[in-house]
Symmetry: C2
Subunit: 173 residues, 2 copies
DNA sequence: CATACCATGTAAGCGGTTACATGATTTT
DNA sequence: AAAATCATGTAACCGCTTACATGGTATG
């Protein structure tokens, strides 16, 4: 994923590693602050695969930079990724679902406690997203992402209700 | 995640690697058919960390097995995981969101095509889930997971509509 | 002068994927 | 006799995380 975010940024203009890292961290509102190391290993692979070029640029003031630019191959790969739908569109292999599975199969008794805590976590996240959304200066794209997160949280909250109802039905006969 | 699925299965009774693999593949309706190799490397780590014990059992008929059983430490770790809410409850760092980000920042023009294809993929997945749900013999836990997947797909479909509307607004002024 | 920031990297490890290897037993 | 299934593993790689190392330059 990082690979394509990088290609997407380079499609606009050439950038060096540190700059890429800042741009991505900013775009994810700090919810994904990439480790410096990963940028450079990813750039190594991108260069190896011919999707970017790198060139060392000496500067008088700042430390030397390795400026990256996208190649024709990189552009093609990015275009392909941009029209390809996410596959699969939804995964059963998910940590929340996995916890439900294990709760159900071990029948361990603290399921109610888990559901309550998970619901709390969702509601808290929802509140902080709602707060963030109120900012009038928010970029439309950022707002769109926040809306997506809200919709998914609401879906999971509904599902926690379903789970509880299903548990009561199992227990109550 | 696999680690905890394994511990969850072993909490019930001891099992060997091949058996664990089958059980997990079955529980995820074949949507996650784990590679054989990963089971054994995960079991290696679990043993190293003292969460399981392994013992070679000779059989006359079948090939030898390495039967795994959960330890006290494993039980404790499993219990901890089972009550801990998923953190974070929702991620902005997600492939669908990433594609939206890159579409918006590159302004590459084929966004409509992507949204249409993504919507198709979601609707198709939704249809197949609905079909699977009609099975009367379905285990309640499997049905619960399918319901979760449905809710998330519906959320994403709503979001694709939002995205389209937001694009029109940007373009139309 | 300290410390924050700019900029690049290495190393070790986790969780996962794909592919391959080995050998036995059961089914067709 | 051939193919499927049982059962265990190794090797190489991807994407990512945490932690650490190395220097320069700008700011307080």
């Amino acid at each position: 994923m990082l690979k394509y975010l990088i290609l997407g940024l380079l499609e606009g203009r050439s950038r060096h590693g540190y700059e890429l890292r800042q741009a991505i961290t900013e775009r994810f509102q700090g919810t994904w602050s990439i480790n410096a190391g990963q940028i450079y290993t990813t750039l190594d692979r991108l260069e190896r695969d011919g999707l970017i070029d790198r060139e060392i640029v000496r500067t008088d003031l700042a430390p030397d930079r390795r400026v990256c630019s996208i190649t024709e191959g990189g552009r093609a790969e990015l275009k392909r990724w941009l029209v390809d739908p996410v596959d699969p569109p939804v995964r059963l292999k998910d940590e929340l679902f996995a916890k439900a599975l294990v709760h159900r199969t071990t029948g361990e008794g603290r399921t109610g406690e888990f559901i309550a805590r998970q619901r709390d976590a969702c509601l808290q996240a929802l509140a902080s997203l709602t707060r963030a959304r109120r900012d009038r200066t928010l970029e439309p794209t950022t707002r769109l992402l926040l809306d997506g997160a809200v919709l998914r949280l609401e879906a999971d909250l509904k599902w926690l209700d379903l789970w509880e109802a299903s548990d009561r039905k199992e227990a109550g006969g």
